[in-house]
Symmetry: D2
Subunit: 471 residues, 4 copies
Amino acid sequence: MTLEKKNMAGRILLLLLCMNAVSFIVNAVPQTCPADLGGKCAEDDDWEGEGTSSKNPLAYKWYNAEEEILGKKMKDWLRFSVAFWHTFRGTGADPFGAPTKYWPWEDGTNSIAMAKRRMRANFEFINKLGVDRWCFHDRDIAPDGKTLEEANANLDEVVALAKELQGDKIRPLWGTAQLFMHPRYMHGGATSSEVGVYAYAAAQVKKAMEVTHYLGGENYVFWGGREGYQSLLNTDMERELDHLARFLEAAVAYKKKIGFNGTLLIEPKPQEPTKHQYDWDAATTANFLRKYGLLGEFKLNIECNHATLSGHSCHHDLETARINGLLGNIDANTGDPQIGWDTDQFMTDIGEATMVMLSVIRNGGLAPGGFNFDAKLRRESTDVEDLFIAHISGMDTLARGLRNAAKLIEDGSLVELVRKRYSSFDTEIGAEIEAGKADFEMLEKLAKEWGEPKVASAKQELAEMIFQSAL
Amino acid sequence: MTLEKKNMAGRILLLLLCMNAVSFIVNAVPQTCPADLGGKCAEDDDWEGEGTSSKNPLAYKWYNAEEEILGKKMKDWLRFSVAFWHTFRGTGADPFGAPTKYWPWEDGTNSIAMAKRRMRANFEFINKLGVDRWCFHDRDIAPDGKTLEEANANLDEVVALAKELQGDKIRPLWGTAQLFMHPRYMHGGATSSEVGVYAYAAAQVKKAMEVTHYLGGENYVFWGGREGYQSLLNTDMERELDHLARFLEAAVAYKKKIGFNGTLLIEPKPQEPTKHQYDWDAATTANFLRKYGLLGEFKLNIECNHATLSGHSCHHDLETARINGLLGNIDANTGDPQIGWDTDQFMTDIGEATMVMLSVIRNGGLAPGGFNFDAKLRRESTDVEDLFIAHISGMDTLARGLRNAAKLIEDGSLVELVRKRYSSFDTEIGAEIEAGKADFEMLEKLAKEWGEPKVASAKQELAEMIFQSAL
Amino acid sequence: MTLEKKNMAGRILLLLLCMNAVSFIVNAVPQTCPADLGGKCAEDDDWEGEGTSSKNPLAYKWYNAEEEILGKKMKDWLRFSVAFWHTFRGTGADPFGAPTKYWPWEDGTNSIAMAKRRMRANFEFINKLGVDRWCFHDRDIAPDGKTLEEANANLDEVVALAKELQGDKIRPLWGTAQLFMHPRYMHGGATSSEVGVYAYAAAQVKKAMEVTHYLGGENYVFWGGREGYQSLLNTDMERELDHLARFLEAAVAYKKKIGFNGTLLIEPKPQEPTKHQYDWDAATTANFLRKYGLLGEFKLNIECNHATLSGHSCHHDLETARINGLLGNIDANTGDPQIGWDTDQFMTDIGEATMVMLSVIRNGGLAPGGFNFDAKLRRESTDVEDLFIAHISGMDTLARGLRNAAKLIEDGSLVELVRKRYSSFDTEIGAEIEAGKADFEMLEKLAKEWGEPKVASAKQELAEMIFQSAL
Amino acid sequence: MTLEKKNMAGRILLLLLCMNAVSFIVNAVPQTCPADLGGKCAEDDDWEGEGTSSKNPLAYKWYNAEEEILGKKMKDWLRFSVAFWHTFRGTGADPFGAPTKYWPWEDGTNSIAMAKRRMRANFEFINKLGVDRWCFHDRDIAPDGKTLEEANANLDEVVALAKELQGDKIRPLWGTAQLFMHPRYMHGGATSSEVGVYAYAAAQVKKAMEVTHYLGGENYVFWGGREGYQSLLNTDMERELDHLARFLEAAVAYKKKIGFNGTLLIEPKPQEPTKHQYDWDAATTANFLRKYGLLGEFKLNIECNHATLSGHSCHHDLETARINGLLGNIDANTGDPQIGWDTDQFMTDIGEATMVMLSVIRNGGLAPGGFNFDAKLRRESTDVEDLFIAHISGMDTLARGLRNAAKLIEDGSLVELVRKRYSSFDTEIGAEIEAGKADFEMLEKLAKEWGEPKVASAKQELAEMIFQSAL
């Protein structure tokens, strides 16, 4: 299997995964079968991207990795990453349902051998998709241990294989430590009420940072899924926040000590699993970083579904992060506007994708961050090919968003509409105000001189029309 | 001013409105000016629809009234209607703000003369847009009176003019009585705790039905904005619902008596202005109609923003109405997914529009219902041309939705995907079950024979990909 | 262990459970310890309810089973039931976290032996709480099997023990079949796209009804957790609803066949796990029952947290059920007003409890339904005593609600306020209207005679003040 | 009318307002009549607070101004304030309804004479309630003018009367400028796209600060109702936020210049009227203040209904403000958990009030801030006595909350439960961590030494039980 053949945009080979399946122990009760392909796997057509008229669900229609848009290759704007956990550890279980996915490469165990086989599947998948990055939690890729030492040894063994499989081209977009699944973390990691848990969490992050560094990871993420509270009645929020700051300070120090130059990222989420997570949204997290003097050391990983759960559009939280100098990475997914929990769906809304890409372009791209597909198949999607369809659909949606955003920028009407709205500030008086030289007495004098101000239409419907025309 | 020139689809003349403005008393503090047109009104280009590459904000890009889609003209699928209240009585006021719109044809009064001038503006607008229908509340089009008699006389005078201005082509899509603005209706109309208000509401609906009938209206709408409660503590919900049923029965009787053949429509909304409206959503209203034996007499007017406020997608409530045999009309607007009140925005989301049109096509169209633009300019949009831009954008969005839906249907993949999902019921056993002939004992026997059932992937991501490819 | 000693209201013995623990295999990593009891279990004080000044967390302060309120014993108004699944199968797992509960009686297996030991714990718990009812799913109480036959045999074995342990006093409030956990049900049970699943679901319900009947159950519940859709794009909603109706018809027929006289209950929930559940809320379910002619055969089991997720207050959905003649049972729990998923918390809000009890009293009680504690410990509550504290707190809250509701009714001010609001209908004209004899012409005549109606204040703040004073 | 007689807690005289009514021009179509008092006003009973068993709706049952709780008088903990706008300018209008309130003292004009008569009514009301503070917007208390000069002159005239009526005892809790109602502010004040509006807003705030200072106001509030956006498509959010910072800097400078020592308060609100307000919640506003170096100059005015609209409990946003050293004032109201807009109801939930008071006590009180009743009668509450009932109910609710909070604190169980949860940090290691001396290497070493940490139950249900027992 030669990697260079896969570098072409849009090439997907489903064959190998399907063939390999025979040699795996298939735990297939209930057995699932591809609904629309007559029970057979796709054939070995070495097809590439097929353009927007293609009806092949396994071909890119809009993503063309090497194509240049606004002076940069699509792959460099988009820097796609596969999320190991959703794609390779997602079982389809939900609070009311048992697992539904019985991937052919799984043997039903959580052994080291299985972890390695799974890691091979991961890289096969990444190669077939033609992307260069992946993201992982420590406990996703290797089995936990009875002791920290055992867990670390397990991790080392699997990581060594991942290093080898990465080759020259593939790197982690980011790594992270799973500080939410094990019952020890039920009250939090850095914000646990138990000092022993705080120490354990530190040890786990220490190791995960080392491993991310070893694999050439470009970023390291903190998602505080349990760093929050279920009830204020039994919680000392102030003390917990202080602990969190101490923890992150120690992480910064350790990063520097080991020479890891990747960006540290905090991923805001408002709630779930806790009633209230401390990193509620971009603004809340920015406030935390400023309060504790951590502003220069962290950026944010904005997840669209988290943004909407916090009451903002995804675009809003991206812009808030950007304006605060904190936009570091995007977890590319989407939620359901009528659902109050994290559905982690693949983004398929081209309007939303276009707005996301407008922010990314304004940010000059995301590098060293990128787009991580923190998105999962629906529980009821149980074919191997669904994994491909979902990722291709997500990549094409963002590629389409990029093309649309470029069209809007090149057209210029929307930018011009905004520029004109504020043109009364592009004046001498405007400059004085913006320089902080206009006091209330001067402003009152002007207000009296000028009389009733003229106020122009905001032209929102025109802006929406221009935007929609680019889709 | 020759109307016949305007009758062509897609023709928009802004000139006359702008010119006419000079002769109106302009109440222009603060004066608003077109932000993007250099302060000038558009020139008298007699252009028509210009196709999807047009950058002219006043041209249709997707709507082409006479073009046939799936065997029916676009104008017959869409049956657009202008909502008099938003377009001609919307002032831009909100709970925190005074009016912002100072249309050139308004003189600042609520006189009969002003009502007539406004009605002329309405028909000029309708003609310029090239649509054939309009919707109104009694109190929107004519001033209220000190007595019912005076109010009715005012209404008659304005309606006579409307009848004349309608000519041969234009008709009300529907009329309705405004039973929510006047303080007498603060506890409801049909569900008011005061018997005098119940009688007054009946008298007002009686007159509004007569007037709608006289104008050739095709439907009559009941929106129960105040038919609900603010608190259950002071409310006898059961008695109020009984009153509502009695009221609607009387309306049905009167409709028949006067020979009005239009459809009676109920418009569900979950809340706002009341905490809880009795016609919460399509299913709740269907339950009410069934309970009181009114099912054959009413259909539903589904408003997208109301559907989303009740926790459903617009598509869901349309399908619920359709499945219950109740889909009669659509109030074409959209809400903001992060906002908990009715924003009544013009729909610009092409995905949503495509789903809406899928339901309409399945319903065999909406006639004698149609699409009423129950949508308003943002408060900050204050140019006359914004009225045109907003309607053109809304019409083009639905036209685009219709084209996409037709593409999906003609392509057939999505329909086929659904058909295959349920194909196990297209069997002898399936038919027995669907005919109600399969009892539990027989089913248990089958279950034992068959063993563990095979369950196929739901292919949701594939369905989404097919859907998105049609946009 | 003598049961008769436990029959007194309010008696809680923690000792035996604690002592028994030694003989169980304790899977205690991480070990949990009672935070507030110095690591020791409570002593064997045979105390009873201690009144409202008690600081003992294991004493009833408001619930007094035998006390008469409004002519009925508290235990007959409240008819409390322990939910087997939350209390004995809840592990503390959530979508982001592994189990946290390591109850001393659990051995980490899902064996028949373990099922029996768990059933003994269940009855010990019920006896200690002093309640008379319990609720269960088939798969909660006994292990599933490789075949339906095996599953049924397992169930029979455990049910025989339950029958014995129930003795003369304890009965199931209701039983139900678990049609949502197993992957075969991922597309639904009665509404699955696979005919084999439909049959399997029927077989499972058949058996669960038999078992419920055998145990003397008073009701049988249908909760359609998977009877809904994730996306309308791949769903034939109309066909699925037809299947659901056929399924319920067959259930009614079978109930009659076996002579089961218990009430069939449908439990509405708007969503979760599906995006949209067909039994969205009370009104939606009522519409379904009416449409398919099932109205006389079913009542509703209203769950407070489900009501609030559907956008209603719990009180609203109870009243909607009651007015439609459908209020059959209450799943007594509460949600978090800021959380968009089912938190199934024990109700502790006395205002909410008072409103719930006002509905129950108006309904003349719930029998043969009752209050099932479909509520679970927070994931972080890991002491055995937390199970007791939570239930005692929930029972006391509803008992307090009952006392408050009785106070309100006996005081009469609130009832009188409502009566007066509608008194204008307690007239000759009002009676004619309510009898359906007032047509629009007569009403118009009255409206003209009466002139502008007088409209009184709704006195909502006064109603709230009266209500709050009773708390 | 002697004021000293009114100083006693709980004294309410409705008589004078009722009697005075005769001399006012009553605009009473439709006339409203007291539903529950037989059409008559209350008699001149000079009653005082009557204790918790009173059934008099016009008597305080829980508030006793001079009573000491936790070492401070109730009136000093609570520092109640009447909001002029809701109480004296609230008309009952909503987006779908015309005004419903026809107070006897109103003459239907917006004249200076009417403004003065209204101001007298305000102080009569304040005196009768027995509170010492009021809050106002500039444009609420005096008519706007055609020019800024005229508006300022109008304001001066009414303020002079207010100064006189205040006497020695009454003071503004705070004043503010109304920068949202006039159409000139449709794009914002400080964040308007028009420089002329920025200047006008500055002039208006300048005057409002002067007037607040002149009246002895203790605080000055900024509520940025229009400082936000409707759509990001036409908005330069970064530039707008910079303008807002410049504006607030100028406000700080002017405050110092005129020697006003009151606290400057920002009032967060997530949205409404805009889609997104820049001062979304406490954390967002704290981030803004930190970013622009304004932290020492401002505190926050937390409004409970705003907190819940932003997805937090009121308690959460109070605690967030407190922890950031920013809790300055509370707008005491409540929302409806099922409603997505600001209902500004009077708080009547005693659980919520108890949590609010726990925060206030932890904050050492609110002075120089207090509790402003930013709450309004329901639209349907139209009797003068409803104004009294609503305020008395709100005051009694918070008084009851204070009593309950004190009970909880004096009891100590809840505080102790929290203390014990974190006791593992009250150790040498804990102290090192909290001092920032524990690096990852040290922590890893500890984690390995300690092995699997013990994690205690969070005892949430116990905490809730303790809390509820105090209600």
